[in-house]
């Protein structure tokens, strides 16, 4: 309960209230029973009246140090002590500590003859003595109606009851009077007309073969109080009332993230996972791995050292641990460390309200940061859609008020639309993962979608979802010209692509080799040409040299002839230049 709510439960000024110490009851009465006044607790047989009354005294004695007197008209001291010992109340110890007095008033009608006037002063004296001897602040009369059966004169009984209630008020004790439910009346003998201040009705109802205990404040004069019927139950710790109402939308919104436990899923969620305190719906058809996602989530929380509570409505704890071990998630070690607690029950074990109440109670006791409910759809077996939705709304509100991250799995039927979450709760959820099997080419493959994740920039692509021996693996589904492919189709497609790539690689290698060969070829040819040219050039040069020599010789010869003939030098020079020019051209 948040601080905000507790503030609302402050009693109005003027009316003093006495806390009962019964978990939850003081909240619905906004402080407890009217102090110093009698309260009528009525209900049919087996509704828990005596236990309520006894717990009122025991809690008063143990928690608030207020001694109490229990006047029983139905059960003996020993019977009472034995009956409540199973709830952990040690009456004998309290009696020894002078915190409790049990007084068994036994009236055997057959022993009694009535003649003339009388009153019940002896009862007053007994009660008064008991109250005074331990300074009692609380009194229980269980059940006063036995007086009507025991004493023939109803007029006297009624008059005395009126006096008794007045007297109790004068004594200033807070009294609880129990009464059996009558036909069309709250109590068989109409005790409610004497107790005007506070009337509480306990009810034990069976609906669809499922019993639910409920408590209602019929009347509480001078104060506001919860008017609903609240479920309560009796377990080994006594009675607890669960004031489960919609807490409204006032919860905080943490910005911290929690990992999903699946790396790729975290990256799909902007790399960080869900917001802490958010509610996550995981929906999918049968066998899609919803529970596995939940197991991952829980394991991740425990790995971080946080506490997790797993409500399993389909499988036993052993079964979940075994199944998750097969995919490499060891939940058992977390259970042993006390970080993980399972709560396994069939939905049909209790009514919806009790389930909710139990979930409340366990969460309050265990104080987890992560809660998994697997699956919520099973509640439809117990209640209808409206009831289930209302219950889940309150559960989610409760989780949010405690900033507990909740993951809810929901089984969708294969026939319905995938987005049709069976219990209509998707709008309540902050994030919604859809796991879907996609059937094609004669095989089923799992695909994971994030349909929504409030406040998180999430991936909108479908991922293929594999269950491996080391947990869930998310793989990019093949998205290409062939559409979205998964499973063997995806791996076939990838193989084909690989082959094609290989082939493309081979082609280019061949071309490169060819190029290289061509290059070599041309280079060789170039080399050959060059050497041919050089050979030819050399030959030409040699020829030129020969020619030169021949010309020189011829010139020399002419010079010789000229010298011999004594001719002039003119024609000779020209010939010499011409020979020089030819030489230059060859060298170039």
């Amino acid at each position: 309960m948040s601080r905000q709510n507790r503030r609302n439960f402050q009693p109005l000024k003027g009316l003093q209230k006495e806390r009962t110490g019964i978990p939850g009851f003081d909240e619905i009465t906004r402080g407890g029973l009217p102090a110093g006044r009698p309260t009528l607790v009525c209900g049919s047989a087996g509704a828990g009246k005596t236990l309520f009354a006894m717990e009122f005294l025991v809690r008063g004695a143990t928690l608030f140090n207020e001694p109490g007197v229990f006047i029983s008209f139905e059960e003996s001291d020993e019977e009472l002590a034995t009956n409540v010992a199973s709830l952990g109340f040690d009456l004998n110890e309290l009696i020894a500590e002078k915190k409790l007095i049990l007084d068994y008033v036994f009236i055997e009608r057959s022993e009694i003859e009535e003649t003339g006037e009388y009153d019940l002063e002896a009862l007053f004296l007994r009660l008064g003595y008991a109250i005074d001897s331990i300074g009692a602040k609380r009194v229980v009369l269980d059940t006063l109606e036995a007086l009507f059966a025991a004493l023939p004169n109803e007029a006297i009984v009624r008059a005395e009851l009126r006096r008794l209630f007045r007297w109790l008020k004068d004594k200033g004790v807070t009294a609880v009077i129990t009464g059996e439910r009558g036909d069309g009346k709250l109590t068989r003998y109409g005790l409610e007309e004497y107790v005007a201040d506070c009337v509480i009705l306990l009810d034990h109802r069976v609906q669809n073969q499922i019993s639910t205990r409920r408590i209602r404040i019929v009347k509480y004069r001078g104060t506001s109080h919860g008017t609903n019927e609240y479920p309560f139950f009796i377990d080994e710790k006594g009675l607890s009332v669960l004031p489960i109402t919609s807490l409204g939308l006032m919860h905080k919104a943490p910005t911290e993230h929690v990992s999903t436990g699946i790396e790729r899923l975290d990256t799909m969620l902007d790399g960080q996972g869900f917001y802490r305190g958010s509610s996550i719906l995981v929906s999918g058809t049968a066998g899609t791995g919803k529970s596995t996602i939940a197991a991952h989530f829980v394991a991740a929380a425990c790995q971080r050292g946080e506490r997790a509570l797993f409500f399993a409505f389909e499988e036993s704890q052993e079964q979940i641990i075994r199944n998750m071990r097969s995919i490499g998630i060891d939940l058992e070690k977390f259970v042993k460390k006390g970080l993980l607690e399972f709560h396994n029950a069939r939905p049909s074990a209790w009514g919806l309200e009790v389930h909710l109440a139990l979930v409340h109670k366990l969460i309050t006791e265990f104080n987890p940061t992560v809660v998994v409910v697997d699956p919520i759809t099973n509640f439809l077996a117990v209640g209808d859609r409206m009831e289930t939705k209302s219950m889940l709304t309150r559960l989610i509100d409760f989780l949010k008020s405690r900033q507990v991250t909740g993951m809810f799995t929901s089984l969708t039927s294969a026939a319905s639309e995938i987005e049709d979450s069976e219990v209509d709760v998707s709008s309540l959820m902050d994030a919604w993962l859809l796991v879907r099997t996609i059937e094609s080419n004669g095989e089923r493959n799992r695909g994971l979608y994030i349909l929504k994740a409030r406040g998180i920039a999430h991936s909108n692509q479908v991922r293929e979802f594999l269950l491996t021996d080391h947990g869930i693996e998310l793989i990019d589904a093949y998205i290409g010209s062939e559409g979205v492919l998964m499973g063997s189709a995806r791996s076939n497609q990838l193989a084909r692509e690989k082959v094609a790539e290989l082939e493309r690689g081979q082609v280019s290698a061949r071309k490169q080799r060819e190029l290289r060969r061509k290059q070599e070829l041309y280079e060789a040819q170039l080399q050959a040409l060059k050497s041919q040219y050089e050979t030819e050039r050399d030959a030409i040069l040699m020829e030129l040299d020969e020619e030169q020599k021949r010309l020189k010789e011829a010139a020399d010869q002419q010079l010789e002839i000229a010298r011999l003939r004594k001719a002039d030098n003119r024609g000779m020079k020209i010939d010499e230049n011409g020979a020089r020019k030819a030489r230059k051209g060859a060298a170039r």
Partner: protein, 115 residues
């Protein structure tokens, strides 16, 4: 009207006739519970005394318990109403509540007179 015959003479009382001849003060052990000296207490005691004197002369013993003074004693005989007359002996225990104004009923209640 049956009762456990522990003594021989007690068997006779089952006949429902007063045993005026034998002098046994403990034969009828009666205890009257009252709460304070109220007119009703006084009436009850006077009525009881009258009846005993008439029907149980010499065989009875009356003890008056004022619960105002001894509230714890109310528990032992399971007293709720006052005045209550308890027949401790002869057994079984019988209780008569009221101011004992109806002699007939007191006699029936005490098994002095058959019903």
């Amino acid at each position: 009207m049956k009762q456990t015959p522990t003594k021989k003479q007690r068997q006779k009382s089952t006949n429902g006739r007063p045993q005026a001849t034998s002098e046994e003060p403990d034969r009828w052990n009666l205890r009257l519970y009252v709460a304070g000296q109220t007119p009703r207490s006084v009436t009850a005691f006077r009525n009881l005394k009258d009846i005993c004197e008439e029907y149980l002369k010499g065989q009875y013993h009356i003890e008056v318990v004022d619960l105002m003074e001894n509230p714890t004693l109310a528990r032992g005989d399971q007293i709720l109403a006052v005045p209550t007359l308890v027949r401790k002996l002869p057994q079984p225990i019988r209780k008569i509540i009221g101011d004992l104004s109806n002699t007939e009923r007191v006699l029936v209640g005490l098994d002095i007179q058959p019903r």
